[in-house]
Structure formats: structure tokens, C-alpha cells
């Protein structure tokens, strides 16, 4: 240790396995390919101007979702590898070390670098439009959030090929993850990847909290907000209260590993179980951060395609608030088996079970939204419908896990694995997909192809159940999670084989979704009119894609939680067309976020390898970028003039007429 230490780890470039060599080859090919084509078609300027420096929430949202799909692919690939290894007893597809790395990266990538950005991407795409705002409260900060997430994800992902992946699980329990038992850079990658992305997420929480509270269109009271906006507001609050805990926890383990502190060590008074506490004080709220927005999406989608108002709007809001409150007082259920004593276990069993009550209320309200409705089933609705039974299975098994004495028998077994996949896939992933299908024709001017999507849907959902129902059973048969192999004598073979078949079906389902997107980009019918689903909320009242300032006039007739639907019923639009157009104040593009994040990458990389000098240079760069930006702050916005708005409107009109 020391400022000028540049010691190389034993294996800097990892090349010890055909898989990794394959990864290397594809990374190099893809990077060279991208650089080649972007240069050939002279697109660097375009990319820089339109994407890298953008502060437009819609584009940032698209980048988030793109990154999330990429990470879904990475995490999914990990999953397929794991399932292949476990298909039969004593297989040697992966050795123990690789298996351990892969389940660690799978979990971390899926929760932090897939679910989170997917959700945040959808928030970016939809929330400002839903509340009638022209951007988020802090557009530059928003861009910084994205680039920080991106850098965090990149740092985490390169661990695979440079230096070695973390291998102590996404929960990263100490003392295993301490430097005594796991030296090397893997765990450092975990710490810094999460730290950097986490700071971005915290900024997102602050940003959306302020945006939603302060920037709603006239008439949109809190109790007229679309349910997705409500869920975003509540999620933002959870983020603000939970993520600082993660920041501190990661920092403390970093101090342990890099500077020899004793927060979590076995010796010198350190307290390993403090990690479990702190991790889950963040971690349990975190799982609600990724589920509540999905609830919001389902509420909006279900009421849209049942052609009916959301049943029990107020109850939906109250239950969401209740869930968010409870989510902070249940964390001990993740370690009932850590000797907490009967009192603590009893209390936390009860608080955990209590979460099922507001959740149950929501399920019934969704059902009764559809009752007497007129149910149509395009792709977004299909995913929402599939959510109800699948999530319920996850939910009821959650309640079973909440019973501490019974959890002594389920804990850390495949039963638990199945529970959280039912809620995370059946809830979060289905929700993200529903949201993506739903808002796609808002961000772009076409839908995703229905026919291919239905195939994808059925393959995925059937595969999902095939994969995870048997996990409940092998869990009860005593199969622990995180084993890289098992013996024939355990009798788990049949179910494991079925699981693997299910996993492959899900993989095919995912590939079909990607294919549906590509196919639709090439062939799907274009429609810029902006209301493809016969929508109910503000975002459908403007064209698709919306102009970069979203609303040329502010919506002025928000009289209910379904303002656009009601306006259509009354034969009105959302806008007062007689109101003269006014110049619109918009933020300029900004290069600071990506530069700052670049420095953050340098810092993160330096600290991962414990090259402190490089780490500190990176941090100085981060602070320097902020200072630079602070001096530029005085010239960071512009007005969109009326003639430009009129030009946009004329162009849209021509496009719409040309179509009909």
C-alpha cells in the first residue's frame, strides 16, 4: 500500500478459459466494429451532439434502456451457463471458481445493472411526459446519473477479463469478502462498480422527487398523478433514504480492504454481522425500489387495456406508501438464522408478513380494474396479465419465508432462489417489458411487432415457470443455492434438468424480443399521431416522438387522474389551442457529465487495483469537472423560439396528412 504502488495483480489479463477468450474476442471485435463504422460514416459528431452530451430525459431514458437490455443479455448469458453446469450431476462445464464468479456477477448485474437502469430508463422516458413537464428538474444531473451508472456497470463488467470477477455473491458477505479470505481485485470491482452506480442512482432519486413535486402541469394535484408517477415519487423517497446506507457500507468495506480498517474483520474488534445488517438495511428497500415502479406500470397498463379507470386509486396510493414504509423495517428476515433471539425474529416475521397486506390490496384492485372492463391483450397487457399469477406465487412464498422457524428450513436453499425470481422476474422484469412495449410507440413512431412478441411472451413465460417451479421442490429437498455441482445420490437430477430446459426457453424468448425490436425498426408501420393505445394520461396527448421540449403549450385541462381519456370523452384536446405560443426555456447540451464520469472511471479503476495515485488523480478530475461546470453555469440554457415550434408543428401536420 502506498501512493506510488503500481503492483500488477497476478493475473491482470484473464485468458485462462475458452469462455473468457471468447469474451475477449467478441469484445475486441465489437469495439473495433463500432469504432470502424462510426468513423466510416462520420457519426462521431452526431453521437457526441445528440447522445453523449444530451440532457434530454427521453434520450437519456433510451440510453438507460439500451444499456439495461445489454446487461440483461450479459446476466442472462451467465444464467444459461449456470443452468448448463447444473443440468446434470457432476458436470464440468464450469469449475468451482468460475461458477462462483458467474453467480456473483449474474446477481449483481441483474439487480444493479439491469433492473435498476431499466426502471430508471422508463421513469426518464415517461414521468416528465406524464406530468406535463418539459424536462426533469436537473437535466445535467440527470445525464450525470446515467453516465455514472454506465461507468459503474462498465467497471463491474470488465472484471471478467481484466483482473478477475468478484466471487462472494451479490450479497458479498464478510468475512468471506474481506481481504484475508478473498484477496485480489474481484471484490474491489464489486465495491467500486456499485459505489459509482449508486451515487448516480441517489442523484436520480433526488431529481425525480423534485421533478414530481415541483413541475406538474396546472391542475395535476398529487391525487391526479398517474400511478407510474406515484410509484416513481415513492421510489425516489426510498432511494433517498436507502442508498446513502449503501454508500457508507461499501466505503467501510473499501477501507477494510484497501487501508486495513477493521469494520468487518474477524479480528481487532471488527463485526462481520454488521455487514449483513447494513447490506440489508439498504438491500430490502432496494428490492422494493425495483418492484414499486413495476406496480405503477401495471396499474397504468391494466387500466388502459381494460378501458376502465383504475379501481381504488386512493387505496393504490396508500398501499404503496405503506409498502415503502414497511420495506425499511423488515431487513432482518434475510438472516433469521443469525442468532437474533426469538424476540427480534418474531417482530421481523410479523413486519414482513404485514407487507403482504397492502400487496394483496393491490392485487385485488388490479383484478377489479379488469372486472367489467373491455380487456384487450396487446403485448404490454400480456406481460401485465402474466404478472398477476406469477407475482402472486412469489408473494405467497415470500410470506412462507417470513415465518422465521419455517425459514430455518428454506433459507439459502433453492426455495429462496425461486421466491425472489418469481417476484423479480414475474414482477420487475415483466413490468419493465410491459413498460417498454407500452411506451415504445411514444419514444419512437412505431410499435414493436405483435406477432413475434407473442411468441416471445409465451416462450418466456412457459420457460420461466418450467425453470422456477422445480426450484421450490429441490429447495425443499435440501438443495442449497450457490453450489456449483451436486451428486447423483442427492436425487435432484430430474428437476434440475427440467429447470435447465426452462432456462433455455427463456433465453430463446429473450432473443425473440430482441428480434422483434430489430424487425420493427426495419418494417413496422410508422405513426406519429401519438396515441396508439387509446391512452388515458398526458403522455399520449402529444405526438410520437415528442418534440425535444415535449409540450409546445402546457396542458391545461387536467381534471382527473385520466385527463386525456376524459378530454377525449368530452371531445376536447389537452391544450388550449388559442393560447399564443411562447418561447420555451430549455437547457443546453452539456459535456460535463460524460467527462466527469470518465474521470470516475479512472478513479474507480485505480482504486480497484489499489493504485492510489491513479485513483486520486481520477477523483481530482471529478472535482475539477464539477468546478469547471460551476463556472459555465451562467450560460447553460437557451430559448426555443416560436418560429421553430411552428416549424415543428407544420412538419408534424404534413407527416400526419401524408399518412392518411
Amino acid at each position: 500500500m502506498g501512493l506510488f504502488n503500481f503492483k500488477m495483480p497476478e493475473h491482470f489479463i484473464i485468458m485462462n478459459n475458452p469462455l473468457i477468450i471468447g469474451a475477449w474476442i467478441s469484445i475486441i471485435l465489437v469495439s473495433v466494429g463500432i469504432v470502424f463504422f462510426v468513423t466510416k460514416y462520420k457519426k462521431w459528431g452526431y453521437l457526441w451532439r445528440e447522445w453523449f452530451t444530451t440532457v434530454d430525459h427521453k434520450k437519456i431514458g433510451v440510453m438507460y434502456i439500451l444499456a439495461a437490455l445489454l446487461m440483461l443479455f450479459r446476466g442472462g448469458f451467465d444464467a444459461i451457463l449456470m443452468r448448463t453446469q447444473l443440468a446434470l450431476p457432476d458436470l464440468k462445464v464450469l469449475d468451482a471458481q468460475h461458477y462462483n464468479e458467474i453467480f456473483t456477477t449474474h446477481g449483481t448485474v441483474m439487480i444493479l445493472f439491469m433492473a435498476m437502469p431499466f426502471i430508471i430508463g422508463l421513469m426518464n422516458v415517461a414521468v416528465p411526459l406524464q406530468i406535463g413537464a418539459r424536462d426533469v428538474a436537473f437535466p445535467v444531473l440527470n445525464a450525470a446519473s446515467f453516465w455514472l451508472f454506465f461507468v459503474g456497470a462498465m467497471i463491474f463488467n470488465i472484471s471478467f477479463v481484466v483482473g478477475g470477477s468478484p466471487d462472494a455473491g451479490w450479497t458479498n458477505y464478510v468475512p468471506l469478502a474481506g481481504s484475508d479470505l478473498t484477496p485480489g481485485v474481484g471484490i474491489n470491482y464489486y465495491l467500486w462498480g456499485l459505489q459509482i452506480a449508486g451515487i448516480g442512482t441517489l442523484a436520480t432519486g433526488v431529481n425525480f422527487f423534485v421533478t414530481i413535486l415541483k413541475m406538474r402541469a396546472p391542475g395535476m394535484t398529487l391525487l391526479r398523478m398517474p400511478m407510474f408517477t406515484w410509484s416513481t415519487l415513492i421510489t425516489s423517497i426510498i432511494i433517498i433514504f436507502a442508498f446513502p446506507v449503501l454508500t457508507v457500507t461499501l466505503a467501510m468495506l473499501t477501507f477494510d480492504r484497501l487501508f486495513g480498517a477493521h469494520f468487518f474483520t474477524i479480528d481487532a474488534g471488527g463485526m462481520p454481522m454488521m455487514w449483513a445488517n447494513l447490506f440489508w438495511i439498504w438491500g430490502h428497500p432496494e428490492v422494493y425500489i425495483v418492484i414499486l415502479p413495476a406496480f405503477g406500470i401495471f396499474s397504468d397498463v391494466i387500466s388502459t387495456f381494460a378501458r376502465k379507470r383504475l379501481f381504488g386509486y386512493n387505496a393504490m396510493v396508500i398501499s404503496m406508501v405503506a409498502i415503502s414504509g414497511l420495506s425499511f423495517i423488515v431487513w432482518v428476515h434475510h438472516f433469521f438464522t443469525m442468532g437474533n433471539g426469538p424476540w427480534i425474529n418474531s417482530v421481523f416475521s410479523i413486519t414482513t408478513m404485514a407487507i403482504a397486506i397492502p400487496t394483496g390490496v393491490k392485487v385485488f384492485n388490479w383484478l377489479f380494474t379488469m372486472y367489467k372492463g373491455r380487456i384487450e391483450t396487446p403485448a404490454p397487457m400480456l406481460w401485465s396479465l402474466a404478472f398477476i399469477p406469477n407475482f402472486l406465487i412469489g408473494g405467497v412464498t415470500g410470506v412462507m419465508l417470513a415465518s422465521a422457524p419455517a425459514d430455518y428450513q428454506y433459507h439459502n436453499s433453492y426455495f429462496l432462489v425461486s421466491h425472489f425470481h418469481y417476484v423479480l422476474i414475474g414482477g420487475t422484469v415483466f413490468g419493465c417489458l410491459a413498460g417498454m412495449y407500452y411506451w415504445w410507440p411514444k419514444i419512437f413512431d412505431f410499435k414493436i411487432n405483435e406477432r413475434i412478441s407473442k411468441w416471445a411472451f409465451w416462450l418466456f413465460v412457459v420457460g420461466f415457470n418450467l425453470c422456477f417451479v422445480p426450484m421450490y421442490l429441490v429447495g425443499l429437498q435440501g438443495m442449497p443455492r450457490r453450489v456449483y455441482t451436486y451428486g447423483e445420490h442427492m436425487g435432484w437430477t430430474t428437476w434440475n434438468f427440467v429447470e435447465t430446459i426452462g432456462a433455455y426457453l427463456m433465453g430463446v424468448g429473450f432473443m425473440l424480443i430482441v428480434w422483434a425490436i430489430i424487425y420493427s425498426i426495419l418494417h413496422e408501420k410508422r405513426d406519429r399521431s401519438g396515441d396508439p393505445w387509446n391512452g388515458r394520461t398526458l403522455e399520449w396527448a402529444i405526438s410520437s416522438p415528442p418534440p425535444h421540449y415535449n409540450f409546445s403549450r402546457m396542458p391545461s385541462r387536467v381534471t382527473s387522474a385520466d385527463p386525456f381519456w376524459d378530454a377525449k370523452k368530452r371531445g376536447e384536446t389537452m391544450f388550449d389551442e388559442n393560447e399564443p405560443l411562447k418561447p420555451i426555456h430549455m437547457p443546453n447540451n452539456d459535456g460535463m457529465p460524460i467527462v466527469l464520469s470518465g474521470f470516475m472511471f479512472i478513479a474507480g479503476f485505480g482504486f480497484v487495483f489499489e493504485w492510489l495515485l491513479i485513483g486520486f488523480i481520477g477523483l481530482l478530475g471529478v472535482i475539477g469537472s464539477m468546478i469547471w461546470r460551476s463556472f459555465k453555469d451562467y450560460d447553460a440554457d437557451h430559448y426555443v423560439q416560436v418560429d421553430e415550434i411552428e416549424r415543428d408543428q407544420a412538419e408534424l401536420k404534413a407527416a400526419l396528412e401524408g399518412r392518411s
Binding site: N100, G169, Y173, P175, L176, L181, V245, G269, M273, A276, N277, A306, F311, G312, Y313, T337, M338, G339, N340, G341, P342, I344, S346, S349, I350, M353, I357, G360, F364, N365, L367, M370, Y371, K372, I375, T377, L385, P389, L392, I393, V396, V399, M400, S403, A404, P405, D407, Y408, Q409, H411, N412, K454, V469, L473, L476, G478, P480, V483, Y486, M490
Partner: protein, 313 residues
């Protein structure tokens, strides 16, 4: 293309499958659903009760779901059917808040009573035996302080006698689990804990480390044999007579990361005994640290740190 119209039936099929599985029709003759002792039995009863309660919810929701989907599909409705403009129904909403509350109460009560029961010996009027189970990367070490012997990677216990396991770890945290005999508990380096188990009858079971502990975690399986007390005693005698003594050096070597075969020792060194932790300085008088004191001083956000009041038995 898969016709969507059949979707509802597919769901019904999936639902049926789930029901079958969750209600235990499926023959799962091992592990948790095959209790072989009073602790496992108690947990098994609780599990079955929770399955029953959860099935009620599952059935209600699945039936409603299917019925609503079948009844109100747009393609089944007349062209001019307009959904009514309702906002909610307070009575219904109270009903479906109250029912989950009742179900939760029905589960919470036995949960709490079992939680307290499991802290105590399953057979208070029988004399228990104590066994120290220590996990190390990647093996299990069992010490029998009353007999003075030690085994590695296999465990023998007297049947029909409550066993008080004293759990600890040499390095990474693990979890000590014999599904047929009862639920697991963590093994930790800085805090020994206790777990009561008992086997009704002689028999053989598989136990294992259940909390990921590094490279060869998957290999941390051990066999458990419950023997009649007399057989157990003669096994102990046999070990004492035939097995080698364990030297300090051998014990240290055993603790090094790696996997090992079954081992048996007729003694173990004093240094191998599981010690109580001492994190404070001399001036705190060593052992008598009172963690509970700190709980009241904590700041907002985290009222307490569960996991600290060990040794409650």
C-alpha cells in the same frame, strides 16, 4: 401462432400444477418434507399450515383472474359494450384488506410460538448432549466435549436424545443444516451460537453447509448417523481406543483452506475449543461485554443491530 384464446386455460393448468405442488401432493420424500425429529416436525407442521393458508389466497385470486379474463375479453363482448365508469368500492376494499390481515394473524401466531419453542430443548426432560460443530474452508469439524473425541466431515449422534449444537466457524460464515432433523443456523467466527436438534429414531441423513463460503463450498456435505444410545456409546469407546490423538499441529493443518476426507480423533487439543469472543480492551474486563447496552444509544435509522444478543439460551 399460439392462439391467445387458450391463454386462460394455460393459466389454469399452471395454477393446477402449482396447487398440486404447494399442497404437497407431489411425492417429495426427502429433506424438509421428510421430518425425522421433533424440531423438523414442528417446522414441518408450520410449513404445511402456511401452505394451506397461502393456497386459500392462491385459489381465490387464480379463480377470479381466470373468470375475469374469460368474461371480459374484448373479443367476447358486444361491440358497443362500454365499461362502467367506477372509481372503486370502499366495502370491497375493506373486505380484501381484512382477509389478508386475518390470514397473516393466522400465520403469525404459530410463527411466534414456534420461534420461542425452538430456542428450548425439544425434549426438556431428557438429558441433552452437546456437540461443537465448526465450519472451516471447506470441511466440518465435530467435537464431542463430553466424550473428548473429534470427527471430521461426519457426525454421529445418539437417537432420541436432544443434541445441543454449539456452532462456530473458523473463517467464512457458513450455515449448519440437516434438513431431516430441523432448520439451519449460521456458524460464525466471532460469535458461537446454539441449535437444538433431535432424531426420533436411528437413521442416516445428509447434512451440509448451506451458506456460501468460497471455492469448494459445494463439497461441504457431511453424513449424519443417529444411533441407539448404546450403539453410540460403543462407537465412542471404539473411537477412544482406536483413533489417533490430534496434535496441535494437526489441528492447525486441518483448518487450512482445502477439502479433506473423513477423519476421526480420540482427542483434540485444548486450543481447539470454541472460545467466547472478546472484542473489547483489557479495561473492559474481557468477557463480560454487554452488547445490549449499545442498542439504546443508536441513532435514527437503525434502532438496533440484530444479531448481537447471542447466548440467549
Amino acid at each position: 401462432m399460439l392462439p391467445l384464446r387458450n391463454g386462460a386455460w394455460k393459466w389454469l393448468a399452471v395454477a393446477g400444477m402449482m396447487m398440486a405442488i404447494l399442497s404437497g401432493c407431489e411425492p417429495v420424500k426427502m429433506g424438509v418434507l421428510n421430518p425425522k425429529g421433533p424440531v423438523a416436525q414442528k417446522q414441518y407442521d408450520l410449513i404445511i399450515w402456511s401452505v394451506v393458508l397461502m393456497s386459500v389466497i392462491l385459489i381465490v385470486v387464480f379463480v377470479l383472474f381466470v373468470v375475469i379474463l374469460v368474461r371480459f375479453r374484448a373479443s367476447k363482448l358486444s361491440k358497443d359494450y362500454e365499461p362502467p365508469d367506477v372509481e372503486g368500492n370502499t366495502f370491497l376494499e375493506i373486505v380484501w384488506t381484512a382477509i389478508p390481515v386475518l390470514i397473516v394473524v393466522a400465520l403469525a401466531v404459530p410463527t411466534v410460538t414456534s420461534t420461542f419453542d425452538l430456542e428450548k430443548s425439544p425434549s426438556p426432560n431428557k438429558k441433552p448432549i452437546t456437540i461443537e460443530a465448526t465450519s472451516a474452508q471447506w470441511k466440518w469439524i465435530f467435537k464431542y466435549p463430553e466424550q473428548g473425541i473429534e470427527t471430521v466431515n461426519y457426525l454421529k449422534i445418539p437417537a432420541n436424545v436432544p443434541v445441543r449444537f454449539k456452532l462456530s466457524s473458523h473463517d467464512a460464515m457458513n450455515s449448519f443444516w440437516i434438513p431431516e432433523l430441523g432448520g439451519q443456523e449460521y456458524t460464525m467466527a466471532d460469535m458461537p451460537m446454539f441449535l437444538w436438534l433431535e432424531a426420533d429414531k436411528p437413521g442416516k441423513f445428509i447434512g451440509r453447509g448451506n451458506n456460501f463460503s468460497g471455492r469448494d463450498f459445494a463439497k461441504m456435505e457431511f453424513t449424519v448417523e443417529a444411533k441407539k444410545q448404546s450403539d453410540f456409546d460403543s462407537w465412542v469407546d471404539h473411537v477412544k481406543k482406536t483413533a489417533p490423538k490430534q496434535s496441535e499441529k494437526e489441528y492447525k493443518a486441518l483448518l487450512k483452506p482445502g477439502t479433506v476426507d473423513l477423519k476421526t480423533y480420540s482427542s483434540y487439543p485444548k486450543s481447539a475449543e470454541v472460545k467466547e469472543p472478546n472484542h473489547g480492551g483489557m479495561e473492559h474486563g474481557g468477557m463480560d461485554m454487554d452488547h445490549s447496552k449499545m442498542k439504546h444509544e443508536d441513532m435514527e435509522g437503525m434502532e438496533d443491530m440484530p444479531g448481537m444478543d447471542h447466548d440467549k439460551n
